[in-house]
């Protein structure tokens, strides 16, 4: 089979894996070919707006499993192909030299056995590292159930490993991927997590409750990369398919935060279940809106970088689903109006991060600017803080919102496209009345959200 036909088939087969990150490890060049910059580079964008950073292919899309959501399941009559490890290595090198990619993301259908499959993946990475002396980024899929020895080898060659959890619950997995074993996937994650931690033990991890774990582990610290027994220096990630089963956003986030905590994952990718060719009729015939994926990422960010707890996010959902019309941070703020407004000139970093419209970067800028003087509304405007969203929640040197402004929260909405949360808002007669608890719009809102 011609190499370009194989490439077409095996790229087609790989495109439902959302991860394309090449970040998390910084490594100087080896004088030959390749380095890693720590941040990752998107070398191109496909017309779906997605970043192309790595050569993302399957070694083969032959597969002995029959996972309903997967285009490569044994019962699908998609065209099949198989690369040799040599072909994968050559292709990676040719693309890399022309600056098309940051490296390789190699996955595979399960052929023969988990061990056989894993061995093939490892061999491709080994060729790249040892024969081609390739020093760029490698992400390998860890096949659940593969032996500890093969995982060990994979971690030696790869920067990142990932075992996909696939679905948020055991039941979902049994239903859609009968051959996969939830506990086996977790066992593989645990194995990797142990090895990653072991290879990092030269670097003390400072536990700071204010900071999410992922921020405390510095991937670019030189100690780790100099460690001779380096194991997957960019850590591990996973992917969860969203919308193929009835599991709610809160359930999904619950699983995600458990994985973050237990196995110190660097990323959980949420992949909106996408219609695939050779669709299985037992799956929903409609893909979930991409907005759902977006809201999950926003919530995930709040958990990891904004100091939010899962139950806080869950408290501002609509029966376990994140609101479509309001981002999760605004939703939380609206159901906790008593905590606002917050004085940007006095508040702690933790408090600032709670203000709708304020991102991590602007929070840090505000803290830096407080050294020079007191911030005014105009300063925030120059920082391009979206004031229409943030204003009711903040106090600046020259601005103090009336309680009624916080109650008259339509300021936070963006036109008629976001009405649902506020439709039930009672007419606000005046500041005095709104302070009366029974009519407090925040209460009404909270009730309507919880009902």
């Amino acid at each position: 089979m011609d190499i370009s036909i194989k490439l077409a088939i095996l790229a087609d087969a790989a495109k439902y894996d959302a991860s394309c990150a090449s970040s998390g490890v910084r490594r100087k060049g080896n004088g030959k070919l390749g380095n890693a910059t720590g941040v990752g580079i998107c070398h191109s964008y496909t017309p779906d707006g997605r970043c192309v950073s790595l050569l993302k292919i399957l070694l083969t899309n032959f597969c002995i499993f029959d996972c309903l959501y997967c285009v490569n399941r044994i019962s699908s009559n998609t065209p099949r192909a198989r690369f040799t490890p040599e072909e994968v290595a050559d292709l990676t090198i040719q693309f890399y030299k022309r600056n098309y990619i940051e490296g390789l993301f190699l996955s595979s259908g399960i052929i023969q056995s988990p061990d056989y499959t894993m061995e093939q993946l490892v061999r491709s990475a080994k060729l790249l590292r040892e024969v081609h002396q390739f020093n760029g980024y490698i992400h390998l899929k860890a096949v659940p159930g593969a032996s500890a020895e093969l995982i060990e080898l994979a971690g030696r060659y790869a920067d990142r490993l990932s075992a996909n959890i696939e679905l948020p619950t055991v039941d979902d997995l049994t239903q859609l991927a009968p051959e996969k074993d939830f506990n086996q996937i977790k066992a593989t994650m645990e194995e990797m997590s142990k090895k990653i931690n072991f290879s990092r033990r030269s670097t003390p991890v400072i536990r700071n409750p204010e900071k999410p774990l992922s921020l405390q582990i510095d991937p670019t610290s030189p100690e780790k990369t100099q460690n001779a027994k380096s194991f997957a220096p960019a850590g591990q990630s996973t992917q969860m398919i969203v919308g193929a089963t009835a599991s709610t956003d809160v359930t999904i986030l619950q699983t995600a935060s458990e994985l973050y905590q237990r196995y110190q994952l660097r990323r959980v990718y949420y992949s909106a279940y996408s219609l695939i060719p050779h669709h299985d009729p037992r799956l929903p015939g409609v893909a979930p809106p991409l907005l759902r994926e977006h809201r999950l990422y926003q919530a995930d960010w709040l958990l990891r970088f904004y100091g939010f707890q899962l139950d806080e996010i869950a408290s501002a959902t609509d029966g376990g689903q994140l609101h479509a019309h309001v981002d999760p941070k605004l939703a939380w703020a609206l159901s906790h109006r008593e905590r606002f407004p917050i004085d940007v000139n006095k508040a702690s970093r933790h408090q600032l991060l709670r203000i709708p419209g304020l991102g991590v970067r602007n929070v840090d800028r505000i803290i830096r600017m407080r050294r020079v003087g007191r911030l005014r509304l105009d300063d925030l405007m120059r920082l391009q803080v979206p004031l229409n969203r943030s204003r009711p929640f903040i106090i600046t040197a020259d601005y103090h919102p009336s309680i009624s402004e916080l109650d008259r929260i339509t300021v936070g909405t963006r036109g008629p496209s976001q009405p649902t949360l506020f439709d039930l808002r009672p007419a606000v007669a005046g500041p005095d009345q709104t302070r009366q608890m029974p009519n407090h719009p925040a209460r009404t809102l909270t009730r309507s959200i919880h009902s």
């Binding site: 190499i3 790229a11 060049g29 910059t37 580079i41 998107c42 192309v52 693309f95």
Partner: protein, 315 residues
């Protein structure tokens, strides 16, 4: 009386010149900083804009200005000392702003340095100060452009030395700023074992295996050469794309049209976009077919002799 600063236009050059001018206490409005890139291109005349009126170049410093050139001790008494960290912040900023496509950039940086020395030692923390805001804006532009240069440079194999096997690559790239000197070390580190040249309309960078050489693109050299790996790359690009998630705006925001000419994969973009809807619809129809077939099968319980074969064979 305006004095033309003699320097080479690089960040190192600016730093050296600015340090000396600060020591001599020459105020920013007496200086003209020539721009090597725009002069060479003849596109932008380097007319130094006047320092903005309210940016705080304060006259009360006149007594300090007349002090001796190496008047560090005197200055310490009359002016707050600029912390080392603040100077470092300025230099970090200047390291990028020097390569912004803006005729006033060197002057702006010097004005900030001047203000820091003359009464505003913490100016680099005043992120919304007018000069700082301007500098940060240009900094962001350069940063983005440098990143996009690392991303969008596409090397083509020009020739392979038959004796040594050494490969020579070249790229033609059109940045929005002047990022080559910022990204040169990145390419040198990543592609150490080959030889490469990056052509831009203003400047050329060449890696000889030991160091990167820079020169202005005096002859406006560019090149076109086909590299047969590019068709494989196009194949990959076409097949990693999911037509069911078409989002041209998001793609274009990150990969502006300005770069399409120099990206081999962009050649097939129009095709991919125009057929995406049809491909997604076909997939949906196929799924609906299966769905209705199943319903029919359920309702007619076994009378379905044909089976769900309608489009199952197509991909």
């Amino acid at each position: 009386m305006t004095k033309t600063v003699e320097f080479d236009g690089t960040f190192i050059g600016w730093r050296r010149a600015a340090g000396e001018l600060l020591r001599k206490s020459i105020p920013p409005d007496q200086l003209y900083w020539p721009d090597p890139y725009s002069q060479h291109m003849g596109l932008f005349e380097s007319v130094p804009t006047q320092p903005s009126q309210n940016t705080g170049v304060r006259p009360r410093n006149s007594s300090v200005s007349s002090a001796r050139a190496d008047a560090g001790v005197v200055e310490k008494r009359t002016q707050p000392t600029v912390p080392k960290k603040a100077w470092q912040q300025l230099l970090l900023l200047a390291g990028r702003v020097c390569y912004a496509r803006h005729a006033d950039r060197y002057n702006l940086l010097y004005r900030i340095a001047w203000r820091m020395r003359h009464g505003e030692p913490h100016l680099t923390d005043a992120l919304t100060d007018r000069d700082m805001l301007e500098a940060r804006k240009w900094d962001a532009a350069v940063r983005r452009d440098a990143h996009k240069t690392k991303a969008f440079v596409r090397f083509r194999l020009i020739y392979t030395d038959s004796g040594t096997g050494l490969e020579h690559f070249a790229a033609w790239h059109r940045p929005t700023q002047y990022p080559l000197r910022i990204v040169g070390s990145f390419f040198a580190d990543r592609f150490a074992a080959v030889r490469w040249t990056i052509f831009t309309p203003n400047e050329i960078a060449f890696w000889d295996g030991r160091q990167v050489h820079y020169q202005l693109n005096d002859l406006n050299v560019s090149f076109k050469k086909w590299d047969n790996i590019e068709s494989l790359w196009q194949t990959y690009y076409a097949h990693i794309f999911n037509p069911a998630r078409l989002n041209v705006r998001a793609m274009q925001r990150e990969m502006p049209k300005q770069h399409w000419d120099t990206l081999p994969e962009a050649a097939i973009l129009p095709d991919l976009i125009s057929t995406a809807h049809q491909r997604a619809t076909e997939m949906q129809n196929h799924i609906d077919d299966i769905g209705s077939l199943n319903m029919a099968r359920r309702s007619r319980a076994g009378q379905m002799a044909t089976g769900p074969t309608t489009s199952a064979g197509q991909s």
